[in-house]
Symmetry: C2
Subunit: 704 residues, 2 copies
């Protein structure tokens, strides 16, 4: 039936079927062994996904694997990376721990990869130690004002700058190696002791815990920009890769960082640089203080990471749409972890498997088939830089651009038990709200996910009053990146998360460590899996509405509201100086006003239509306008230095202003340099964003 709308009773059935025990058992199976990308454990999860999605009773219409040959970086199991303190005679005075301390047997699995910095070059570095705070450009700048950094090793803490940036920022100062650790201040609310404070006594990171990670800046396979990484695809020479550390870098636990930092000489670092250790964080002499046993000693790094091209698999599954099979709703999460990955990513994968179990069962029972096609993606090698999802979008760029309604990403499903967190294009705000109103908050019977969310994080909308605060997808933190930034597909990224009044942790403390296990997840993140259930219900509800609604549940006026917000910020922050440089903001104002007018007209037209009795082509026409709205914001040439960032509203920005990113970054640069050529770039970005908004607005106008 081409005029059939979403069936509310079916959504109720879906919500009722989503089950905590299934999610728990999914997680148990997925976290059985470490499953870092391309390892045997990863292949085991591939088989799990295929078996589930091909199940005769609860599987999808079809499921298969798709492989890419991608550039990864691993430590050498036979020759572990070593960080030591050595005296003048090169005698080792202290060795940094090579494996995290095991509290449960699974943490002792030989497949637990040594902590390392993926894409750090191999190499040997030795030098006096300095403390460089978070490794930001301003940190090294400040440090270099009193110290000559040439030949030093810098120890930095996580936060404030991207992982790889800590080494990239250091190299110009002559720093030869970088260590990075997680300060208990930033992750443990200050707690440090594993005798009673940290895991297994709580969710806090134990002293030997180390956050692994990928130290690249750009996403996707680094050797095949804009080309799917197939066997015979052209690869750039590895020496041409940009955005990876030029000098060795290695992550260590705070147990070792404590020993190193508290022994540092030199002046005391400023108060913002101080962490939770019970000592003063000094800059370093460079090197250790004369009173330390390490006096005159160097820190030595011996890094044996190897880059290798390996075969990484996505697992794909589909439910074919009944009326519009050529329209896709895509739902995805990565499958690979650093170690057992119970929370990252298996909490999300457990949720995805529960959603597909219920939907697959409804399809196999013959009680449901979505109007539009649903594609599920279990992405490979996300931890190395969103590789599986990025390669997928490169391979199928045209098809996905033309046909994709929306992309839903649930990576870490549950960070904590307090509230929903969702980031999305503003046009999807309404369907997220609608779905979250229909799901009970975890463990609640009378409070909805929506109400709990609004309580924890809200804003006042000129149109809607007080509503939950929806985030923006301006970054590249998970697999939504290629969909948002490269393809311009309206996307959602969501999870359950913290009560920020209860913790300042940057992220859940076991993140990317050997402690992210089933035990940890079930005891400290989501006992009873009720938050997992709430996320599965909310995300699944959204998924069904996107797939089944006769009229796509997109709201253009909510997009207009955010554009107006961005405009107001730009006018407040920039207009005076723009006028001083004879750059008019009128085109931008006109564009935003036109977007608002056309959005209202479209909504009025929809409101005045009896869609169930309209011709299917009229409904399709409106749906095409809605589906393609975000595509109109793409400009493949506007950000030549940001790989695959094309969406002029959501592109990443370093200016830190809630406004148009190209304009904000160009303005910051021009204000700082004062160069005419930089003010030209401000004018350029103002024209780019004005034209994009006007172009998007014109797609919302009457179609001819």
């Amino acid at each position: 039936d081409v005029a059939k709308d979403v069936d509310e009773s079916l959504i109720e059935k879906f919500l009722a079927e989503v089950d905590t025990i299934h999610i728990q058992e999914n997680l148990r199976e997925l976290t059985d062994v470490p499953h870092m990308a391309t390892t045997p454990g990863d292949e085991k999860t591939v088989q799990t996904m295929l078996r589930r999605w091909q199940d005769a009773d609860t599987g999808l219409d079809d499921a298969w694997r798709e492989e890419y040959n991608v550039y990864l970086s691993f430590p050498d199991a036979n020759n572990p990376n070593k960080v030591t303190v050595v005296d003048a005679a090169n005698a080792v005075q202290h060795s940094i721990r090579e494996r995290e301390k095991a509290y449960t047997s699974d943490q002792d699995d030989p497949e637990v990869v040594q902590p390392y910095a993926a894409y750090s070059p191999a190499g040997h570095a030795k030098g006096k130690l300095v403390y460089a705070n978070q490794g930001k450009p301003s940190d090294y700048e400040q440090l270099s004002q009193t110290l000559n950094l040439t030949g030093t090793i810098a120890i930095t803490r996580y936060g404030g700058a991207g992982r790889g940036a800590k080494a990239i920022n250091a190299a110009p100062y002559g720093v030869v190696g970088v260590l990075v650790y997680t300060d208990p201040l930033d992750i443990n609310d200050g707690f440090m002791s594993d005798t009673n404070e940290t895991y297994p006594h709580s969710w806090y990171m134990p002293p030997s815990g180390v956050e692994r990670g990928s130290f690249n800046r750009d996403f996707g396979d680094l050797l095949t920009p804009y080309l799917a990484a197939k066997e015979e695809t052209y690869r750039i020479p590895p020496e041409n890769i940009v955005g990876i550390p030029p000098i060795p870098i290695q992550p260590i636990g705070f147990e070792d960082a404590y020993i190193l930092i508290c022994a540092l000489g030199g002046d005391a670092a400023p108060s913002e640089w101080q962490g939770a250790f019970n000592c003063t964080y000094n800059y370093g002499g460079p090197g250790f203080k004369p009173t330390s046993e390490f006096n005159n000693s160097d820190v030595k790094m011996d890094i044996y990471n190897k880059e290798v091209i390996k075969n990484s698999a996505n697992v794909m599954g589909v439910i074919r749409g009944s009326v519009e099979p050529d329209r896709y709703v895509i739902y995805g999460n990565h499958r690979d972890s650093w170690v057992h990955g119970a929370i990252d990513p298996s909490s999300g994968t457990s949720v995805m498997l529960e959603i597909t179990r219920v939907l697959g069962w409804m399809v196999k029972q013959g009680i449901w088939r979505p109007r539009r096609s649903i594609i599920f993606g279990s992405w490979g090698a996300e931890e190395f830089g969103l590789i599986g999802s990025a390669e997928y979008t490169e391979q199928y760029f045209a098809k996905l651009s033309e046909r994709t309604i929306a992309y839903i990403n649930v990576d870490i499903a549950v960070f904590a038990n307090a509230t929903l967190r969702a980031s999305a294009m503003p046009s999807l705000q309404n369907v997220i709200f609608k779905a979250s109103k229909e799901v009970n908050a975890p463990g609640e019977s009378s409070t909805s996910v929506y109400e709990a969310w609004k309580l924890h994080s809200n804003r006042t909308s000129p149109t809607h009053g007080v509503i939950p605060r929806l985030g923006y997808l301006t970054g590249a933190g998970s697999d939504y990146a290629a969909f948002v930034h490269y393809l311009g597909i309206s996307s959602i990224d969501m999870s359950y998360t913290y009560d920020r009044s209860k913790t300042n942790a940057r992220i859940y403390p076991a993140y990317h460590t050997a402690y992210d296990t089933f035990d940890y997840a079930s005891k400290y993140i989501d006992p009873g899996f009720v938050s997992h259930q709430a996320v599965a219900r909310t995300a699944g509800n959204i998924l069904i509405r996107l797939a089944d609604s006769l009229l796509l549940p997109f709201n253009c006026s909510d997009y207009a509201e955010i554009l107006e917000d961005y405009l107001n910020t730009a006018v407040t922050l920039y207009q005076q100086q723009l006028e001083a440089h004879k750059i008019s903001t009128e085109p931008l104002k006109r564009a935003v006003a036109m977007f608002r007018t056309n959005a209202q007209q479209l909504e009025k037209m929809i409101h005045n239509s009896d869609l169930a009795n309209e011709t299917p082509l009229k409904v399709r026409r409106i749906n095409d306008q809605l589906m393609l709205l975000d595509r109109a914001f793409l400009d493949p040439l506007a950000f030549p230095d940001k790989y695959a960032f094309r969406h002029v509203i959501w592109t990443s920005s370093s200016a830190g202003k809630a406004t148009f990113p190209g304009l904000a970054d160009a303005f910051a640069q021009a204000e700082s340099s004062g160069l005419d050529s930089d003010w030209d770039k401000v004018h350029y970005h103002l024209s780019v964003v004005s034209q994009a908004i006007e172009g998007a607005a014109s797609t919302l106008a009457d179609v001819i």
Copy 2:
């Protein structure tokens, strides 16, 4: 009726209504005065278009003007460009004619612009004359082997290289100014005398005739790349424009070129450099021969061109579609000429006005409304670089990309009376053939346009046997460029043209001269306007079929045939050397084979469907696959040095091979340099085109 197909009786009605007298009178009105872009004569044609398209009985649903502020270049009417021969004392020995000789009163109109090279810099140059053949890189290279070109003025003939390239190629050798003329060998089949051979005695160019033109390389407004040139749009500094002459250049008539060239000293130029003058073309001493009255004299150029930003208008008109108003068929031609422009472009505009008269009349009578919307564009400032159409595609990029079925361009409708010439994406071959079979060849009652075409120019297709030869849209010769290369819209460019056995003229001899008038067109190009009529009927027939067919008349297998042809050429020419450099052609072979397979599957599926009784959404789904096929070949990053060229199959190429252009150019470069980095680029382009073809093929497969 959503299932209604094209009405053949309506096409017959259209064909019967298309009338030679109307076309003739259109041409008379349009060529009344010179109508160079942004002049009062241009505004007069704007008013003509608006009046016709807003006519109550024969107009369109709506018509309006759209303006852009574009960067143009004009001579100074108060200070004409001068080219003289001066002796050592700077006394003028000879002055090049500043206006063409008038044979009719309209050629004497003060609004006839002085011959000039648009975008040539103003400046004064003086030096010894040399003859540089066609101004190709190889010509200057050869000349420089015996002569020091520093400080010389080069005289070149049209042909062999782009207009501006003749100056760009010269500058590195120290040449300070360039003249360009049309050799009678290249345009007049050798005829030179206006006493009895050239116009007004024939269609040949009179001795004082000068081809004007734009001497830029890239299309679109030069100051606003990728941005629509609105008043407040960011403009690059003029000094950053690339692809325009770095030294003064001026076109002159062959009457003057004869005097200069036949007086040149130095060695005789090779035989391929010789033209039709009754003297030996020497290289120049540099300078004139000792026996010439110009012995020791210099050629002096005083160029006063001025660049100015002016307001140029497109005139747009629409007929709203009844069933799928959000699908556009666009038909366009430029409106601006260099002088009276009877053939270029007014022959095409006369045809467009006759098509819109008949279609408008059918709409106003209520006997027809197209299924899809039809947009007509009367583009401004094409002669300066396809500016009006390019700015239009920049402004409405998203909307046009999403909704445009096809673009039909008829610029010069009739070059000559012999045969149809059409270039198009191969998927449109079939509808062009179908339409051309239904139209009588000019002045014939039993031979179709198709038959005459096949007689003049044919090829043997593996599928269809002997068929007319359809050309490729690899260049940027008219307003189709932005549609083909920037937007990836399936396009057609067509006209009536020569019997090549009867003339070797590069183009019709009055091209871009003051002789391109109504008198010339009606006497020598198309007496009786029967070829105009044939073009109007053929183009209109195609237009109606594209707008009204239930299933779009696109044939994907015809595209596959050309891809296979390109592949075979690539394998023959390149495979051996590619293998020697360890570059596999397998991905390309697999991609082309996949394209063929998927095209056949789609056609089989269509064949097995009863489309009139299918749901409208199924038909729309297939039509979307067909419409968007060319979009899948776009890569906005593959050709960074070619402005707005994104279509990896049809992008311009300098290698001169009928195969994939990026591959061909990269191969030529690598073969010539032998550098590993250049072979890397070959591999890159092989991956780019393979991925694009595979991506396109995947859009033809079953939609999920």
